[in-house]
Symmetry: C2
Subunit: 412 residues, 2 copies
């Protein structure tokens, strides 16, 4: 239990958690959830050969020696069914997505034709067999597995689910998450101002971190540092799938969180990890609840959330991708590292010719919540590092606000 | 208007849109919104000098020749106020976050001490002045601007807002977005199965794309391709800030969308962009509504959304970062490019030693919605490209599902 590395602590957490039960949700409410089962195609798609262009359906042999004038026998738009068989010398005006008539073996786009009369068109060039025809079943055939269990419902997946007519989708249930702050010094968000108190930032930073995963947590408020009140508050927190407690997990004689959790039957798996910030981070389990004891300091608490709580919640949600995406980037300055803990440095990213440059947000004191507000990511300084020199390639965990940037990335 | 590049079309859109009005929302509902004004600190933070460690507050001069034994005169925990002045030879047991007593000028962590008795402790090493003390106002001083207007509310920002006691936050209003699909061939999600129809995937893919921005769009359903019905449906769509119409914008004689929009007073800015997929994409404005005419094909429609609608919606929401993040990565195969349109290739990313490798999702036919479901990003092939060779550095726009990965990125 001594000198537990971040990786070992992550393994300890992830060995304990698994996906929760399954529920059915409407497609409209399914974004970000993980599919609980494979999804099969319910029909061929397209259901028949369709035109990929606005133009003319024709017989390729008729235009081998183009230009050639063909007789227009029919207008077919998307949603119509053709009524006539195409014979030699004939064509049909056809719209994108419309069924290709029998007898036709290619489509030519309108730009490569020239109107002759209402009933005749000149085709300007020859076409290959099958040109601009999307074949029946090209996208999917009935019975095909179009999406596998565990797939995250992104916009493209939502489109595919609509394509196979899934108005309701079977997904893994989301964990119910409770958040509790502890400490006599704390002032609640709606409490009157007291100059000697410290506002409870932790509850809301953690709330927002949970919300980024699409989960609406329950805020249990602030528990004072006394055994009776903590007992009541923690007991109510143990009714949830996941309980996040911030504060009260350090080694001080006034910290009642750990003994109270143990008295409530929580089996503590660890209470220290070799990391900075975040050294005093604890994890325990009961039959139904995973408990994370997070540091009272908001930056430390947020960093610990990213390393341990986030992948656990993602796994409980049934996701395969459970970690924040990391990128390799160029460090722009030296970083000292004199201890043997993995360090998570709040950094900003800026574009440069061959990727991203990394610069510290500045003061890394764990009280500096503004550093977390400014950060694009957390740069990892491995425990074994003896310091990083400018121009090193470093690993950065991308934080939530980094999905967007302020330029298009180029002119195309 | 001919041969409009993607960049020029983006400029055309973004010159027209600006942030909407301002509204007040609860902090609990504010994630992802942009602040409408600067946020000032309402107090010094910390409100007094506090200990950064569990340990002992002392006078540095007393332990210059450590080890030294000091008398413990008080226990101070977070939330307490010290009651005694520290004199020479004295110390106070202090908890992380607790106020440093008058007379003390440093804190030493408990690990560097040794208990002697209940009232005495041995200090094992000398400490620098100010050691492990967080000074009053170190994080923020009353009146400081702690967050600037336009800042996106991420978890770190939410924590800071709680720190300055903002239970309600002034943010830019979200656009109200309506989505309409058009086409006689379409079958609604809740319509009975008809083997000859094409399911309406567009409405739901677009819905989910809008949802990724934190906006809940209104689905107007499917309008048939006849002027009266289109007129009614488009008119109701023009009651929203943004109307997304898919289908019906190509050049075919049966496309009534553009003339109907014009009849309804929509001033069309463009209806073609030199891109693939997505050539027939239109943009128009009225006094109150921005109208995007998107291709009927779901992949094309989604790609056009990413390039034009997403940055417009982000700008309307008051954000500074309005484009999807792009990364540079290594292409693993040749890509042909024989036309003069910018191409957006659906690709998957995989980690390699120095960054990401890029591989096409395979068939890029615009009917292949599965390619969008599998994609981590859109690789851009610029309009002027003559093709890309394997090992080229390419630009990839990261899509929504790429915030997470399936490994931690390293062992730390």
């Amino acid at each position: 239990m001594e000198h537990l590395s971040v990786a070992a602590a992550q393994r300890c957490v992830l060995e304990s958690v698994k996906s929760l039960g399954i529920e059915s949700v409407k497609l409209e409410q399914s974004l970000g959830r993980a599919l609980a089962g494979d999804i099969l195609a319910n029909r061929d798609q397209p259901p028949y050969d369709v035109s990929a262009m606005d133009g003319f359906a024709l017989r390729g042999a008729d235009v081998e020696n183009a230009p050639a004038v063909l007789a227009i026998i029919e207008d077919i738009k998307a949603g119509d069914m053709p009524t006539k068989l195409l014979a030699a010398g004939q064509c049909a005006r056809i719209m994108i997505g419309a069924p290709v008539p029998q007898g036709a073996d290619a489509v030519i786009r309108v730009e490569d034709t020239q109107a002759v009369s209402d009933t005749q068109v000149q085709i300007n060039c020859a076409v290959k067999l099958g040109n601009d025809i999307r074949l029946r079943g090209e996208s999917m055939c009935k019975g095909d597995v179009v999406l596998h269990a565990g797939t995250e419902i992104t916009p493209g997946v939502a489109g595919l689910l609509a394509m196979v007519k899934r108005a309701e989708v079977s997904v893994y249930r989301q964990p119910r998450v409770a958040i509790l702050s502890t400490g006599d010094e704390l002032e609640g968000l709606n409490d009157p101002f007291d100059a000697n108190k410290i506002p409870d930032a932790n509850s809301y930073a953690l709330m927002a971190q949970v919300q980024t995963l699409g989960i609406q947590p329950v805020l249990l408020g602030i528990a004072l540092d006394n055994p009776d009140e903590l007992h009541r508050a923690l007991q109510s927190g143990l009714q949830y799938d996941v309980l996040l407690v911030s504060g009260g997990t350090s080694v001080g004689v006034h910290d009642y969180v750990r003994p109270t959790l143990e008295a409530l039957g929580v089996q503590m798996k660890f209470w220290r990890v070799e990391m900075k910030p975040g050294h005093p981070v604890a994890f325990g389990i009961t039959a139904n609840t995973f408990v994370f004891g997070l540091p009272g300091n908001p930056v430390s608490s947020m960093v610990c959330f990213e390393q341990f709580v986030l992948p656990a919640l993602r796994r409980m949600m049934g996701h395969v991708r459970i970690y924040r995406r990391t990128i390799a980037a160029r460090l722009t300055h030296d970083v000292k590292h004199k201890h043997s803990r993995a360090e998570f440095v709040r950094v900003m990213l800026s574009k440069e010719e061959n990727g991203y440059a990394v610069i510290s947000t500045g003061a890394q004191g764990s009280g500096m919540l503004s550093s977390m507000a400014e950060a694009d990511g957390l740069m990892v300084v491995p425990a074994a590092s003896k310091g990083l020199a400018a121009d090193s390639r470093v690993t950065v965990q991308l934080l939530d606000g980094t999905a967007f940037q302020n330029d298009a990335g180029g002119e195309w």
